[in-house]
Symmetry: C2
Subunit: 279 residues, 2 copies
């Protein structure tokens, strides 16, 4: 693991690392913010980014460092797909499949299965790497994300009961089975048998959730992708049906951008810190 | 003037406009943040960006909108040079002269004199444009900037006594006469006669300042450009010699980036708001 950047920010350190991923079979970068005086009791929040993003968008645009510093939490931001010239990409180089669009699943179809294993990377390999290399409490974690990364955060938290203290999402894809982005990604990575898709669909996972971890979701009502892709009403229905605690906030006038994310980042970090530091 | 983007951010509006600049003889863009419930009493802060920046870097990376919303101030961010295929650029397309490097001066040398008039643009044309088009108090203003834009903010405030309620800078070029960036820019735009350079050198302007407007300057002590280009000690010496009020803060560990700017943006907006809302 190589430190490729380290910049002081809100008296903590915004670092960027490169490492060889066994799971993804390529070189990867991730960013991590360490708050001032971080130590072995500092908890960790995972941030999962949306389509087209790398690990850098969140770091540069979310404004999260201020709140992480205030609460004394670390935040790690992985990339959104395997990377490199050797990694297969969508033949049309579209923004919503292939590079930059790993969807936090383990692909089973060719030619994706060898590299596109972002679920295993985020759930297993990256946490082990962090545990070995950072003197923070990697056993005390929360998870959040945006859009495709909101889907990742919700589905990963639901699939791993007991693993996260809290979960939240900004404008998440709540049901990839039921939107064009998700259908394209899941059919490409997992094949046409839709039963295999359900393991990555948050609305499906709610039904069998072994833990009633409360969900915090913010959604802008001027988001261009609201009606066709994001459909928060499906999450609301699933949570109501299965009595799963959900705080869904429709934020008037906000779109899908980091201006929206930045505006509510304080609330999300507070939400996670409250859970991470609960007695 | 055409609105080309408008995004809700911290309950206010982050807008971007395109307009024809007479002074620069080209199409220009600028960004402006309007806080929630902005009205005819809302004061305005000018933000001047550094080398290579457009009007967008500040908007995406500084995190200023939160503080502007809290204090009820608008912030306008102009571009850093004239723009377009018809605008002459440095033959080597260097980052520190020509496009993206207008240095907030009025060029007198050819081929720059026709377009490179960023001083007049920021001091005259843009304020008139804002006055005509926005229902805010464009007569109640402050100014701040970063690096080349810190030079712009300090020199413009010093050259225009009574015009600004307050001024501040992040890692400014305090004396372009005495650093390589400044020497390249001023010799290129103004010619080899250094007497003409003094009108744009903050340390020179301090000597003849008709108003003792207090200066707030933050400077990271891990800034790569500190010793060779920025030299805040020259400003300190000039202010001490001429009894000009200066708050110069060396911030340990911080570099030249927007991570540094974001970390102290709250202080700067508070500094300006205190002056703008003073009785």
């Amino acid at each position: 693991m190589n430190l490729i950047d380290n910049q002081v920010c809100f008296a903590g350190e915004q670092r960027r690392y490169q490492h060889s991923s066994t799971v993804l079979d390529c070189e990867m970068t991730f960013s991590i913010y360490l708050p001032p005086q971080s130590n072995s009791k500092t908890p960790l929040i995972y941030w999962l980014s949306g389509l087209t993003c790398s690990d850098e968008n969140f770091v540069q645009k979310s404004g999260a460092q201020r709140y992480a510093a205030e609460h004394g939490v670390a935040i790690v931001a992985p990339d959104t797909s395997p990377r490199g010239d050797a990694i297969p990409d969508d033949v049309e180089a579209s923004y919503d499949f292939g590079l930059g669009a790993g969807f936090y699943v383990n692909a089973s179809e060719q030619p994706w299965a060898k590299n596109y294993r972002m679920y295993d990377y985020v759930v297993n390999e990256l946490p082990q790497l962090l545990k070995r290399n950072f003197d923070i409490d990697t056993g005390r974690t929360s998870i959040m994300g945006h859009s495709m990364g909101g889907h990742g955060a919700l589905s990963i938290a639901l699939k791993n009961p007991g693993r996260f203290q809290s979960v939240s999402a900004f404008a998440p894809i709540v049901s990839p089975i039921n939107c064009a982005w998700g259908q394209k990604a899941l059919s490409g990575y997992l094949g046409s048998d839709q039963t295999s898709w359900k393991q990555y669909d948050s609305c499906e996972l709610i039904a069998s959730a072994a833990e009633r971890l409360p969900l915090l979701v913010d959604q802008g009502d001027a988001d261009n992708f609201l009606a066709e892709q994001l459909k928060p009403e499906l999450l609301k229905q699933a949570c109501e049906k299965h009595n799963h605690p959900l705080t869904l906030r429709l934020q008037p006038g906000y779109d899908h951008s980091y201006f929206f994310i930045a505006s509510f980042m304080a609330d999300h970090i507070h939400w996670h810190a409250s859970a991470l530091f609960a007695k």
